[in-house]
């Protein structure tokens, strides 16, 4: 699917995706010639049709997770289907840190924490605040390991060393992780 700006005879370029959480999607395209914008609005069925292909309009913010289509789309997933090896408390996704109880959060190392976006190629440990851990604990175990990796990858991508519920909200909106 392509959108052609007839006035400029230019292919409009993808600019932005919004997922309001009601099953619909808005994808904004912009003409590189005249800057005119248009929004493609999809109904829930159309959104699902694209989603069922395992792709995202505008590309991915974070890498595809193993079996994300099945785990994100299956109704009635078995809660104990996946082991807790990388579930909440998994130290291997908290490099250099210690997995502690949810009330204490997950500790990264002792280095000072940069502000949001200060280090966009951040590769160090991602710290989870106690509140963020509590929220993640409420995610069904069927998808929890996958969701945890998605948030961690998002934080690294954005150069965010500490995940909080507020950042999770932003990530959820940007990534279209409704219900996660």
């Amino acid at each position: 699917m392509k959108f052609l700006c007839i006035s400029c005879d230019e292919v409009m370029a993808f600019a932005e995706r919004q997922i309001p959480g009601d099953g619909t999607m808005a994808a904004v395209f912009q003409c590189p010639g005249c800057d005119r914008e248009m929004a493609m609005l999809t109904n829930p069925m159309e959104t699902q049709l694209v989603s069922s292909l395992g792709v995202k309009v505008g590309g991915r913010e974070v890498p595809a997770q193993p079996m994300e289509g099945v785990r994100g789309g299956l109704a009635g997933g078995r809660d104990s289907a996946f082991s807790e090896e990388e579930d909440v408390g998994g130290a291997d996704t908290v490099p250099g840190g210690v997995a502690s109880s949810s009330s204490q959060g997950w500790e990264g190392d002792a280095e000072p924490e940069p502000e949001w976006g200060e280090n966009p190629r951040y590769t160090g440990p991602v710290h989870w605040s106690p509140e963020a851990v509590d929220r993640l604990q409420r995610v069904p175990r069927f998808v929890r390991g996958m969701v945890k990796r998605i948030y961690t990858d998002y934080a690294r991508e954005k150069g965010i060393p500490t995940l909080t519920p507020e950042i999770m909200d932003v990530a959820r909106a940007e990534l279209g992780l409704e219900g996660m």
């Binding site: 292919v11 590309g59 595809a64 289509g69 078995r78 289907a81 082991s83």
Partner: protein, 325 residues
């Protein structure tokens, strides 16, 4: 009427990255399958011929021969292989590089929708944000099967057996995912009805250019426990007729034995329970033919087909001779 450029006139991408993501999916699938010697589709087209039992018993037979084997239960709507291999509630290990499947009988790893659903009697349902499920359901299922193949950490395997659900269209859908499939085993029975349906599947896999196609004739007779004689269950001999008419070899004839069902129901394939019995001998013949085809270079791994010839002519091939009464 205004004239403006059509889709094919415009070569510039919109940046929506849909095509790139689809190509990335294919790339990930190819990378995963690169570690697998042979992907073997166990199919039929016909329901009720025992494809899943054949898959489970063949997997265990190959494993007992020292081969590294994995099983994909592609029957998303009627999964059974996790149960047949003894891990109906098996746990998958969640890793960033892929989901590690549980190991069932004889150490055979298996992925099945059965492992993922909470209720054992639940029909397969997807979260439905807006109705019109019928429009996207088959796409969702194809994507799920792709994930079963590409997102499971299979490691290095000699064989990955894929149990294809009934329906000729299901075979076609699988071939879309793995276009260079090297081996297809078509399970049939001696019944005339089975012959007619499986003939359609045979035509489909032939047209797809699969280099190695063979039949497994399941339910080929029944040995009476009273007199010890083997009697036919079905009138006629549809499997042999299909073999003759379709120029496709029979790699094994598996006798009907109610214990096959009893054993697989409790997660212990028959070939484990009675490794020297007639059933085990039949599966050993199938396994030997598979090994022979691989050894002859007719198949050389998923996506890397090296030969284009058909397997030997119709009827029993050599490893099978003398194994059945």
């Amino acid at each position: 009427m205004r004239k403006f450029r059509t889709y094919h006139d415009v070569d510039k991408s919109t940046g929506s990255q849909l095509l790139e993501q689809v190509l990335d999916q294919r790339s990930r699938l190819a990378e995963r399958l690169a570690g697998i010697g042979q992907v073997v589709a166990v199919a039929s087209g016909k329901g009720g011929v025992g494809k899943s039992a054949v898959t489970a018993n063949l997997a265990v037979t190959l494993s007992a021969m020292g081969r590294r084997v994995g099983v994909v239960d592609a029957d998303l709507n009627g999964p059974s292989l996790a149960r047949m291999l003894g891990v109906p509630r098996g746990v998958l290990v969640d890793r960033a590089d892929g989901v590690v499947p549980p190991k069932g009988a004889a150490g055979v790893p298996v992925i099945s929708m059965e492992l993922l659903q909470e209720a054992e009697d639940a029909p397969l349902r997807w979260q439905d944000p807006g109705g019109d499920t019928f429009i996207w359901q088959s796409t969702m299922e194809t994507n799920a099967l792709r994930e079963f193949l590409a997102d499971v950490a299979w490691g290095e395997l000699d064989y990955l057996l894929v149990d294809i659900p009934p329906g000729t269209d299901k075979i076609g859908r699988f071939l879309e995912l793995v276009p260079a499939l090297p081996v297809a085993l078509l399970v049939t029975t001696p019944s005339e009805l089975s012959r007619a349906v499986v003939a359609r599947s045979l035509r489909m896999v032939r047209e797809a250019g699969i280099p190695s196609v063979a039949l497994v004739a399941n339910m080929s007779g029944y040995r009476c426990p009273g007199c010890g004689e083997r009697h036919p269950i079905f009138p006629g001999d549809g499997a042999r007729r299909l073999s003759e008419e379709g120029s496709v070899p029979i790699w094994g004839e598996i006798p009907f034995d109610p214990r096959i069902s009893e054993d697989t129901d409790r997660g212990r394939p028959r070939v484990l329970e009675d490794p020297e019995g007639e059933v085990a001998q039949g599966f050993r013949q199938v396994a030997l033919h598979l090994e022979e085809a691989a050894g002859e270079g007719k198949v050389s791994g998923a996506g890397k087909v090296s030969g284009a010839g058909q397997v030997s002519g119709p009827g029993k091939a050599s490893p099978h001779e003398g194994s059945q009464p």
